[in-house]
Symmetry: C2
Subunit: 211 residues, 2 copies
DNA sequence: GAAGGATGTCAACAAGTGTTGGCAAACGAT
DNA sequence: ATCGTTTGCCAACACTTGTTGACATCCTTC
């Protein structure tokens, strides 16, 4: 119960750095500011350094508190990571008949928006590659968030997992080359270019008859 | 000079574990077996654990030698990594008029071959995500090996980098979801399915008129 | 005002890290 | 047979890591 309420709070704090309390999401604590600062610092460190090199000491220093506070509020490093990368992709609905034929473009542009103002996704990808817990969290996102979207537009229910996986491969591949590996030609692509090139790919993976 | 010769040796030892000496690539040393064992162990560790968690002690233990030997032969951990992930993608030629229209399929299937019997690529991807040197090495592969292939089939020379980056995003994205994150639906895809879905994508990124 | 819990700091631990230098044995050349 | 070099092992250093417990301080509640 407490766990659930805390998770909701995190998702809410996710985008903005406000420490505002959410009505009905548990009693506000005097330490909410500190908790928020820790989470913000943790997200930044995990995003830029990955799991191992994002040390608790560095995170604590960024948040201007003692390392032991991190342990008190999040038990251990794994707990901190779990709390720091709770995320909701807020995927748009594409079940409408008119939107279904535009699903590719809509999803690609939504993903670009998400990646560009949310370092949680970069953190998740960086950590998922070297950390088992991170990898499992990404698998969960594919299963719980990407797969339902594929189900909305994909004709044959049996092909939904495969098509969702194909979509994930292209979207994550772009994020990898552009935001993580920072390959120059991928960084140089304009937003409109990416959309124009990738939208038909995603659209085909989701709706085209299986080849 | 010595550096170059050593690099060539590494590339040669790359695929097979033989300790055979290559004619004209420097004098064979009595320690070549040990050096090879170290490199093999290092590749495996880097591939499964990433850079930070692949400790020199663990690698030395796998190779049945003392950690200090690693330092003697490869200076430091960075040097070991650099030596362990030297790789040549051996990309096929697709400049022929007949092959040009099949470039997508040929490249996708070649990549699947490469990834499935070569843990160096997994090591490179795992490390590239959290390590600067690894990321730069991947950028080098895109620049020196993928880009020339794009040049062979792409009409407008000015668009070559962008198209190569798009190809890289899809190929690396598949490798990421299938071989690194091991997302179940991506792992479950049959080789023929992957080829059938991805080949048109790559073909379009390389040869279609810019949208 | 006193009691009790929440919040925060400090110092320290045990374990593991990359890295170094010294020393013994095996080898190749003379 | 002897010298210098190569190969290997051992022990240790200096440092960083996650994590813990004791202590001081603040705020809330009676």
């Amino acid at each position: 119960m407490l766990t659930h309420a805390r998770w909701l709070t995190l998702v809410d704090v996710n985008g903005s750095h406000s420490t505002s309390t959410v009505p009905g999401s548990g009693a506000p604590r005097r330490s909410d500011a500190t908790r928020g600062a820790i989470l913000a610092a943790a997200r930044e460190r995990f995003a830029t350094d990955g799991y191992e090199r994002a040390t608790i000491r560095a995170i604590a220093k960024d948040a201007n508190i003692d390392p032991s506070m991190v342990m008190r509020y999040y038990r251990n490093k794994e707990g901190l990571f779990a709390a720091a990368v709770a995320i909701d992709l807020r995927l748009p609905d594409v079940s409408g008949a008119d939107r279904r034929q535009d699903a590719g473009r809509i999803l690609v542009e939504h993903f670009l928006d998400m990646w560009e103002d949310n370092e949680v996704l970069t953190a998740l990808l960086r950590v998922g590659v070297t950390n088992q817990a991170g990898a499992e969290r990404m698998q969960g996102i594919l299963r719980d968030q990407l797969l339902p979207v594929a189900r909305q537009v994909c004709p044959d229910p049996e092909q939904v997992p495969a098509r969702a996986a194909l979509m994930a491969s292209q979207l994550l591949g772009l994020a990898l080359t552009r935001y993580v590996l920072r390959m120059p030609p991928a960084v140089g692509l304009a937003r409109a270019e990416i959309s124009a090139w990738l939208a038909p790919t995603i659209q085909r993976y989701l709706t085209a008859p299986s080849p």
